[in-house]
Structures are given as structure tokens and as C-alpha cells.
């Protein structure tokens, strides 16, 4: 009897496992792109901590974080954003389908982020004032995408 129930439990877990995999389309893509977002945020955390005065300015650390940021916004992540991998397909994503619509301007917004990150890379190691000035456009570029293409989360 015990064995029967154990078998039943294992079987139901297996079914649940399959169901989860089927119910969560694009799970790997979503996980990967969210990981990239977190990585960018961590680099920004180094720069932002200095901008806010919570951490003492350090040219070398600032430069490294800015370099990393540029790397992270430059990698080809296009395969992580297949059409349909939005919040309606899988609630693990906070992306809105509007991102994939014609005329969404996603390309321009991505370019704005690349430009802002490049400006940060040029400024971060030169002094705290330059870092602070470069922070604004980076935040704006992040916000422009999150405003248009993300469900309410924060």
C-alpha cells in the first residue's frame, strides 16, 4: 500500500514537472535575459553607490563597472527576446507584447542605452562629477524601456 502511494506521489510529481515545463514557455530565454538585467544593475550599483555618496569614489572600480556595463549592453541578446515571450505567455516575464509591435521604437531605445553606457565608460574614471553627470542618461535609458514595455512591478 505504502509503495503504491509512493509510486502515485512520484508519478504525480512527474506529471506536475512536465506540466510546469509545458506551462512555462520561453523559461530559459526569460531567465537568461533577467540575469543580464541583474548583471547590469549590479554594475550600476557600483556607479550609483558612488554617485549617491554611499561609497567613496574610486576611479579604478568605477571604470571597471562602466566597462562591464558597456560589455553587458553590447552582447547580442536578440535570441533571448523571441516574439511572444511576454508576460501573457509566461508570467515569469514582466515584458509587454507592445515591445514587439511595429513602431515600438525598441531599436532606438536600445541604442540610447548603448550611447548612455558608452558616455559612462568615457566619464566614469575621470572623476566623480563626470560619473554623476553620466548617471542621468543611463537612468533615463533604462526607464524609457521599462516605462513602455514592462508591466507594473515597482
Amino acid at each position: 500500500m505504502k509503495t503504491f502511494f509512493a509510486g502515485l506521489t512520484i508519478a504525480s510529481l512527474a506529471v506536475a514537472g512536465v506540466a510546469t515545463a509545458q506551462d512555462a514557455p520561453f523559461a530559459r530565454e526569460i531567465k537568461a535575459r533577467q540575469g543580464i538585467m541583474v548583471y547590469r544593475a549590479m554594475q550600476l550599483g557600483v556607479l550609483g553607490g558612488m554617485a549617491k555618496g554611499e561609497v567613496e569614489y574610486n576611479a579604478e572600480a568605477a571604470q571597471k563597472a562602466a566597462d562591464n556595463l558597456v560589455t553587458a549592453v553590447s552582447i547580442d541578446a536578440s535570441m533571448l527576446w523571441p516574439k511572444g515571450s511576454d508576460n501573457s505567455a509566461n508570467p515569469a516575464s514582466t515584458a509587454l507584447a507592445a515591445m514587439w509591435e511595429d513602431g515600438s521604437g525598441i531599436g532606438d531605445k536600445a541604442k540610447a542605452l548603448n550611447d548612455a553606457a558608452a558616455a559612462m565608460q568615457a566619464a566614469a574614471g575621470t572623476g566623480l562629477d563626470g560619473l554623476k553627470t553620466a548617471m542621468g542618461p543611463v537612468g533615463e535609458a533604462c526607464g524609457a524601456c521599462h516605462k513602455a514595455f514592462r508591466v507594473p512591478t515597482n
Binding site: 514582466t94 508591466v151 507594473p152 512591478t153
Partner: protein, 296 residues
């Protein structure tokens, strides 16, 4: 039989009377603004604190384009889709010909210059707590902004919610200009309460609503699923929002969270307003949020 008929008729008349009393629009007294001197410079602060541009300007607008209040943003709800009207200074398409009293009736009573009820998507349930001085200051500032001739789009609201008089019953149930957070508050916390509960209308999104769309005062700012939409409005009571006051100020200034995520969705538009406030006002909002009763 005749007695019964008379009685029923009387009851019907009383019922209609009560319905009329409950549902009729209730504008301010004609002399409600007597003695108030408009200050357009302070009106600009009211404009940013009230978040007018977040809904009435184009969502993508930047810089001076945020001052073109031509409307057009769409708000999907369980009751239909509301489209922000033109509140630019155009006398025909916008509100250029409105008096101070017209704006006051709209904001604190939810009543149009023609005497009709507005839908509560226009956050008069929060603005009802605003001071009339702030309203006349705002009116003076709005008069300095550009006129735009784009006509307002009709609201896409079906039966029965398109019966405007029924909104009188909604107001009877939910229009309540008392403060939600009460008790011992410092002057900064009181200022924050004014900014958050009145002008900033935080509760309009962050407080869950009941089946008829009224804010649940008992779960003030406790968040919940977006009605008829995707995602969640976050709980910003101390039960969930564990940011320091400095973190909150930073968020309302730059849009960055303590983890250096950034504000998204409509909240990004809110930050585009709060960033224009004096620093002490953002600090006041942060101080207020710490005094909100924690709600899971």
C-alpha cells in the same frame, strides 16, 4: 386598495427623491473661492505634485512636450476603456475657458462645468483632499501652458457604466475626503500625507479596489493585481516596502531602486513628475510612507 396605491406611489416618489438627492452632482458653493489669490509659480509645484502630465500628456513626451496636455492616453479598466481628455489651454478642445471654480468643481467634486459627473478614473476621490488654494494656483499655472486643438476622444464605456448619474451613487459610497492615515504626525509627515493622499493620488493605483471600483481604505497602499491588466501594483506599506527613507527619495528622484532596477510602467511617469518636486517634498512622502499601517 386605493390606500395601498397611494402608499406605493408615495414610496416611489420618496425613492426617486432619495435617488435624486444621492446621485445629483454636488458642486461647490459659487463663492467657495472668494478671497483666494492665485499664485501661478506655486501652481507649477501643484502641477508636478498632482501628476497632471502623467495622464494628460503623451506618455513618451519629454521636456517641454510634457506641458502639452492634449490627452489621448488610454486606461483599460473592468468598466471600459477611459481616454484622457485634452486639458490644454485651448478654449474649445481643452479647458482654456474654464474658471477657477470650474477646475475646483472638477478636481474636488468630480463635477464638470456642465454639471455632469466625471468618471473616477479622474482621481477626484484623492484630489477631494486638496486645498482650494492649491487648485486656484494650479488653474493659474495651467493658463500659462500651450493650447492644443486635438479634440478629446469619447470614453469607451458600455452600459450600465455609461449612465453618468449612477456615478452619483459611486460618489455617495466612496467619495470621502477624510485622511486615511491619522494619528500623531510630524509636520513633514503631514506634508507627505497631503502629497501622497491628495495631490499625488498614490492610492488610486496602490490601494486595491472592491467590485464597484472603490478604494479599500482598510488596505491602504497594500497593492494587488492590476485590474483588467497585467502585473501587480506593489504593496508600498511598511509590511513590504523595506526601503530606507533615503532609498524612497532616490527612487522618486532618479527612478532607481536600491538594487538599481528602474521604475517601469506608469510609475516611470510618476517619477518624471516627482523629480520636479522640491527635495523636502520627496522626503516628506518618504516619511509619510513609513507611517502607513502595515498591510500584508
Amino acid at each position: 386598495m386605493r390606500k395601498l396605491l397611494t402608499f406605493l406611489l408615495l414610496l416611489a416618489v420618496i425613492g426617486l427623491g432619495v435617488f435624486w438627492i444621492v446621485t445629483r452632482p454636488k458642486p461647490l458653493a459659487p463663492d467657495a473661492l472668494a478671497g483666494l489669490v492665485p499664485d501661478p509659480v506655486h501652481g507649477e509645484q501643484v502641477f508636478w505634485a498632482g501628476g497632471c502630465a502623467a495622464c494628460h500628456a503623451d506618455a513618451e513626451a519629454k521636456g517641454d512636450a510634457k506641458l502639452i496636455l492634449a490627452g489621448g492616453q488610454r486606461f483599460v479598466s473592468p468598466f471600459g476603456t477611459f481616454i484622457a481628455p485634452n486639458i490644454s489651454n485651448d478654449p474649445v478642445a481643452g479647458i482654456g475657458d474654464w474658471s477657477d471654480l470650474d477646475l475646483a468643481n472638477a478636481m474636488v467634486r468630480g463635477v464638470s462645468p456642465e454639471g455632469a459627473h466625471y468618471y473616477p478614473v479622474f482621481p477626484y476621490a484623492s484630489y477631494a483632499r486638496a486645498t482650494l488654494q492649491d487648485v486656484v494656483d494650479l488653474r493659474a499655472y495651467l493658463a500659462t501652458l500651450p493650447a492644443d486643438p486635438t479634440p478629446s476622444a469619447p470614453q469607451e464605456v458600455g452600459f450600465p457604466f455609461n449612465i453618468r448619474l449612477s456615478l452619483g451613487a459611486w460618489k455617495f459610497l466612496y467619495l470621502d475626503d477624510r485622511w486615511v492615515v491619522t494619528g500623531d504626525l510630524s509636520p513633514a509627515e503631514e506634508r507627505g500625507r497631503y502629497l501622497a493622499e491628495a495631490l499625488g493620488h498614490c492610492g488610486e493605483c496602490h490601494t486595491p479596489r472592491d467590485a464597484l471600483g472603490g478604494m479599500e481604505r482598510g488596505r491602504w497602499l497594500a497593492g494587488g493585481p492590476v485590474p483588467a491588466g497585467k502585473g501587480n501594483f506593489p504593496n508600498i506599506t511598511p509590511a513590504k516596502l523595506d526601503w530606507s527613507e533615503a532609498d524612497i527619495v532616490e527612487y522618486l528622484t532618479s527612478g532607481f531602486t536600491p538594487d538599481f532596477d528602474s521604475a517601469g510602467g506608469h510609475m516611470a511617469l510618476v517619477v518624471e513628475n516627482t523629480t520636479h518636486l522640491p527635495a523636502e517634498d520627496r522626503a516628506a512622502i518618504a516619511a509619510y510612507l513609513k507611517k502607513v499601517p502595515p498591510a500584508e
